[in-house]
Symmetry: C2
Subunit: 276 residues, 2 copies
Amino acid sequence: MMRPRVGHIQFINCLPLYYGLVKNGVLWDVELMKDTARELSRHLLESKLDISPIPSIEYSRHWRELTLLPDLSVSCDGAVTSIFLVSKLPINELHNRKIALTNTSRTSQVLLKIILEDKYHIHPSYFECPPNLGSMLREADAALLIGDSALHIHYQVPNGLYAYDLGSEWKSLTGCKMVFAVWAARQSFALENPELVRDVQRSFVHSMTYSMSHVEQVAKDAARWESFDADFLQAYFTTLQFSFDTEHQQGLKEYYRRAQALGHIAEMPELTFLEV
Amino acid sequence: MMRPRVGHIQFINCLPLYYGLVKNGVLWDVELMKDTARELSRHLLESKLDISPIPSIEYSRHWRELTLLPDLSVSCDGAVTSIFLVSKLPINELHNRKIALTNTSRTSQVLLKIILEDKYHIHPSYFECPPNLGSMLREADAALLIGDSALHIHYQVPNGLYAYDLGSEWKSLTGCKMVFAVWAARQSFALENPELVRDVQRSFVHSMTYSMSHVEQVAKDAARWESFDADFLQAYFTTLQFSFDTEHQQGLKEYYRRAQALGHIAEMPELTFLEV
């Protein structure tokens, strides 16, 4: 029996989960691999990982090979503060304009396209590039930013630019929560090792509960190593939602329905969960 | 300020250190990268890591770029039980015979050559190959095994084969302890961040002390995931030495002196330590 190989998103939004893993000694019983959500998804599908958080869009493309872990996600209900469209023009004037897309999050790229199509009925042209606002806005009229660079926008919107929080935009379009990442096991691994996957699921839920009930300390400890202060981090961590209840599931299905209608995914995935 | 990037040897001999890191919450304050000792050494020299355990032979080749962390090593004083020469013939009959070398440890390769040259005065021919005893002994009269496969030899020597523990052989040749790995920081990083390196050094020493004073529990927890039982692991962990006192340093210098005399390293490295 080997330790299960488990992925961890190496981004500030999953710091509370990691904090809980550290404080609860869980890292002894899993082989943790840190990477971007997209890379983790690739490793999971290539059997280099057994269990991992993956972007919502990746789940929809490979759901037949995967089993979801209950009660875990990275979601928001309204503002998310770490995914922004930053624009030289008001958003409704972006028709036929060029938009630069950060190349690190397909889930957010599709989310932006849904919002612009379904809410504003505009059709810009898109191109992918690395996440640097300056160079993005030299080539384009607007830019999709996620992660640290988006959090800096939330901190202070640069003079003369418009900034749209995609969590808020999604909420006002659909009334739904937005799910950015889910936790999944390879189905074959979950069938062969159901107890082990349940152990990992319980440990992660426990870690997250621990962190959220100590969120002030998490933020204080995180501020030692991050480029944001503790108050800002605490506000961010409590804006995020890490559970995966029926409202989250409804929001995820609404995202998939709209993504499919616009041709971004081939079919509606089923949400198949590990039995716990 | 970023978390220091710290290497960890992903092998059973460093499990006690990892256990202490987990139990003491240290993994929050370092960015841990797990790999083989040789790969960690490469990452350290390429500035992908700041602090790492590295094989003794790698320190000798790059000591001018490195600063040693005091009080940390992976050593033995006599039998090591995880590095064996397994032979079809008694060791003193291996002159001009072929010896297969596990390709994962240069430090052990040089150690074997020193023992055969200096103690038995024999000159076999060597070739490198993956660590599989069966295929090694189809091509060669003896094989250098390290790690898990060597521990299995210690558990039970296969019928009709001779097995020589290189820790014991070194001790009987020199009377010295043998140091297999040392902890080092890139010198430039240590000069710029002396307090941070001292923090990491203290945490690691503290973790190791914690683990060795709870070694029965470490072995019990490790046995859940390893292919050895708790008693065997406890015996192995207490056979290893993780300190780096003057006797270890003398043993390391003796190893370097003999390695240089036989042409395996170009010069005697200085042991330059971080001031703590």
